[in-house]
């Protein structure tokens, strides 16, 4: 304290300056790290809120359809129906919280790694029948909220059924090389030149909805032809071809109005009076009909902004409505 009277004004000023700098630096870092939302008035979401968000994301990501063998009365999320592809038959695994057969013992980091990089908790590679090439674009918060919801589901002690794949497509050891060729690791960047609605639509279409997995043609190794993103895929879902979603007038959705697209996503009714069938009926039932109106409009805004690409596939809204 000696001599403090003489140093206090200057020292206090320095202290205030340093404090102000520190607070300013903290605020800047906090804003950059996302904690800015909290400082700006939001708060840490409760577990119940995270689970509720996770349920919405679960629907938007279409998890139920592949991981539940609904047609054969399978238990919810305990393993899916056979997915027939040119590479063989995939059987989607048990994603209930069962600690042995499901994902109950997976850490948050392991769950993020699975969706971001296509790697299982045991370190082995996933096959891209699980669309991690799209889910990689999700942000960490959404991935963890999705996990929070999955952990609330009923655990089912049901072992996974091994895939039945043709060589060499069943060799997991090849997947890191495949990923080098085809996996663009996310998350998805926001496009600052586009509106918030467009960016939301892009996120719903490319990341959560993984629309490109069916609607984009694939090459010999099963990788997406990114030059023809959403331009339609003769192989489609393995059963039916998936039509061109770009706004090409003659072969895509160019003649569909915004109201046409929105109504289709809501209930599956096409502008020619036909009603959706096949796997897309399941997508409408479990996913797009469950979205908010704002999210459906965001999808429409994004789809209509795509560059029109010409497809040789049948057009969704023409021809006989029924056969």
């Amino acid at each position: 304290m000696t001599g403090g009277a003489g140093r206090t004004p200057l020292g206090l000023g320095r202290w205030r300056a340093v404090s102000a700098l520190a607070v300013s630096l903290f605020l800047s870092l906090a804003m950059m790290s996302g904690a800015g939302k909290l400082l700006a008035g939001s708060r840490v979401p409760s577990q119940a809120e995270r689970v509720a968000r996770g349920q919405y994301l679960f629907d938007a990501a279409g998890c139920f359809g592949c991981h539940t063998d609904e047609a054969r009365g399978g238990q919810r999320l305990a393993g899916g129906r056979a997915l027939t592809t040119p590479f063989g038959i995939f059987y989607p695994p048990n994603i209930t919280p069962d600690p042995i057969y499901g994902i109950g013992s997976w850490s948050d980091a392991a769950f993020i790694r699975a969706l971001r990089h296509g790697v299982r908790a045991d370190g082995s590679s996933l096959f891209p029948a699980f669309p991690y090439t799209s889910y990689t674009l999700m942000d960490d918060g959404d991935i963890l909220d999705l996990k929070a919801y999955l952990m609330t589901q009923k655990p089912v002690a049901q072992p996974n059924r091994p895939h039945e794949l043709k060589d060499p497509f069943g060799w997991r050891v090849l997947m890191p090389a495949w990923n080098l060729m085809y996996l663009d690791v996310g998350p998805l960047d926001t496009n600052p030149h586009q509106s918030a609605q467009w960016n939301r639509g892009q996120y719903l279409v490319r990341a959560l909805g993984h629309c490109g997995e069916c609607h984009t043609p694939r090459d010999w190794a099963g990788g997406l032809d990114k030059r023809r993103m959403l331009a339609g895929n003769p192989g489609g879902d393995g059963v039916d071809a998936s039509p061109n979603l770009t706004p090409d007038i003659e072969t895509g959705l160019g003649r569909w109005s915004e109201a046409d697209l929105s109504l289709f996503l809501e209930m599956g009714l096409k502008p020619n009076g036909d009603v959706v069938g096949g796997t897309m009926a399941e997508v409408v039932r479990n996913t797009t009909s469950q979205l908010t109106l704002a999210d459906r409009k965001a999808i429409v805004a994004y789809l209509r902004s795509l560059p029109p690409l010409i497809s040789t596939l049948p057009i969704a809204s023409r021809g006989n409505a029924h056969r």
Partner: protein
Amino acid sequence: MALGLALALVVALGIGLWPGSLKADDRAQVVAQRQADMTRMAAAMRVIGRFLKNEGATVAEVGASAVVIRTVATKMTTTLFPEGTAVGVGDSAAKPEIWSQWDVFSQYAADLTAAASRLSAVTGAGNPGALRAPIVVVVRSCSACHESFRQGKP
């Protein structure tokens, strides 16, 4: 009920539609007739779509469309889907599972009939705001059947 079934049997036999008894030409003809009826139903659904999108369709037009849909739906399990008219016959998109899961298919047809009847009844009240819910049931009935039993058209 028994009398109704007997009459349906007599009608089916009379027009040669008893499952498995159709000749190739007859099967193609049935598929063509089915397509014509389904196209009528699609036209009715298109009117409903225009109503939902506020494109000028009236409550009365939705009511008339509901009657068309109900009429076609009631034919699904009698004359429109005889066995032997699956994919491969003409332009048919009907999966063979229709006949191996006839109970399920019949339930879908009954659901659609009931949904169309409900929509028709609601249109009678003339309240546009009351139509959306029964319309959703009609569309979902169609979609459920297409999801399970229609091939080649997502």
